[in-house]
């Protein structure tokens, strides 16, 4: 067991490569229990990869991934299956089953992971939809929902099994300001009222900074900075400042590393 129960997730000395390219090199991240932690960084900085490492969809090349006091890379497939019941994920796309109505989408994890009688499944589905404000949409099909409603149904499904950790992958992408405000309020409500540990992976600075208790900025294979939103806004680190202020070029370069341009265009190939 992990000694420090203050943290729902701890990445220790974690390294991960895709092919020969380093995505993360020896990083440490600690996500406190019952708080909203934002993981931010430019597109391509490995944020979604980080989520997949926390969800044990990927194995690190080195280091430890502690979730709820257990080092995931040491678990068997069955143990991982059980562990994942305690983790909800709100996917970027919502990932609703398009041929199932709203009720069946939310009921799905309850049918797969529990042996509850139908009446209890119905109670829980209605409770979760009430929590996200969409009980009235129970009979609708996903293609009858707006983008914001789809994401709320996906959230209801993600909390169906009362997870201790809830991971949001780019929750604000493509949402109108009202839908965004609703999501921000829901993330905060679920964290504060139910004691859920929320991990928000996003590059939407304003929304994530407004909701997070603590932020990590990742990029260039490293944790570039960490702290409260206010601390990061006033960071002395030029790479963190570049991200927080949205400057297109700086210590994190605009250009992906490439061979010399002139040689590539004019060189002897």
């Amino acid at each position: 067991m992990n000694a420090d129960e203050k943290y729902a997730v701890e990445l220790k000395g974690l390294s991960f490569k895709r092919g020969t390219r380093d995505i993360f090199k020896d990083i440490d991240i600690r996500i406190p229990c019952g708080k909203v932690t934002g993981i931010m960084g430019p597109s391509g900085s490995g944020k979604t990869t980080l989520l997949r490492l926390i969800g044990a969809e990927l194995r690190p090349d080195a280091g430890e991934v502690w979730v709820n006091g257990v080092n995931l890379p040491t678990l068997s497939r069955t143990e991982l299956f059980d562990m994942r019941k305690k983790m909800g994920v709100l996917f970027q796309s919502g990932a609703l089953f398009t041929d199932l109505d709203v009720f069946e989408n939310v009921a799905f994890p309850l049918r797969v992971h529990t042996k509850l009688p139908e009446a209890m499944i119905r109670d829980i589905v209605l409770m979760k939809l009430q929590a996200v404000g969409l009980r009235g949409a129970v009979q609708l099909m996903p293609d009858e929902l707006s983008g914001g409603m789809k994401r709320r149904v996906a959230l209801a499904r993600a909390i169906a099994l009362d997870p201790r950790i809830l991971i949001y992958d780019e929750p604000f992408v493509g949402q109108d300001p009202i839908a965004m405000g609703v999501l921000v309020r829901l993330i905060r409500l679920l964290t504060d009222a139910l004691g859920i540990t929320s991990i928000v992976v996003s590059h939407d600075l304003a929304e994530t900074a407004s909701i997070a208790d603590y932020l990590y900025v990742v990029g260039d294979t490293q944790v570039l900075g960490q702290g409260t939103p206010e601390e990061l806004m006033n960071s002395d680190n030029p790479r963190v400042r570049q991200f927080m202020q949205g400057t297109p070029d700086g210590p994190v370069p605009f250009h992906f590393p490439a061979d010399d341009y002139r040689s590539e265009l004019l060189g002897g190939r």
């Binding site: 529990t114 509850l116 009446a119 209890m120 109670d123 409770m127 979760k128 009222a193």
Partner: protein, 102 residues
């Protein structure tokens, strides 16, 4: 964590105890239904003080017991609901529906 159970402590009083989760839910549902049917009282009190950790299953059980009681012409009173379960009931919009003792 102790094992979940439901038992009749005194006439008309059921005690819901332990770690109520998705595994223990189905058998608690069945046992609770039988105890309510067997109760001679017109009001059944469900004492929740010994619930150690609850989830939506706990709320669903209380709703199921309400339906059982209603069908048998009885009423339910929920006593000593733990704070965590109360918060979950609030988020789920159940505070006006569950008969929680003031």
């Amino acid at each position: 964590m102790s094992q979940a159970s439901i038992e009749s402590l005194s006439p008309g009083v059921l005690c819901l105890c332990g770690d109520i989760d998705f595994t223990s839910g189905p058998s608690l549902r069945e046992q609770g239904g039988k105890l309510i049917a067997a109760s001679q009282s017109t009001q059944v009190v469900v004492n929740c003080a010994k619930i150690e950790r609850s989830s939506s299953v706990g709320l669903s059980l209380l709703l199921a017991f309400m339906r059982d009681a209603q069908a048998a012409g009885k009423s339910i009173l929920v006593r000593d609901m733990p704070k965590e379960l109360h918060e979950l009931a609030r988020v789920s919009g159940l505070l006006d529906i569950l008969p929680i003792e003031a």
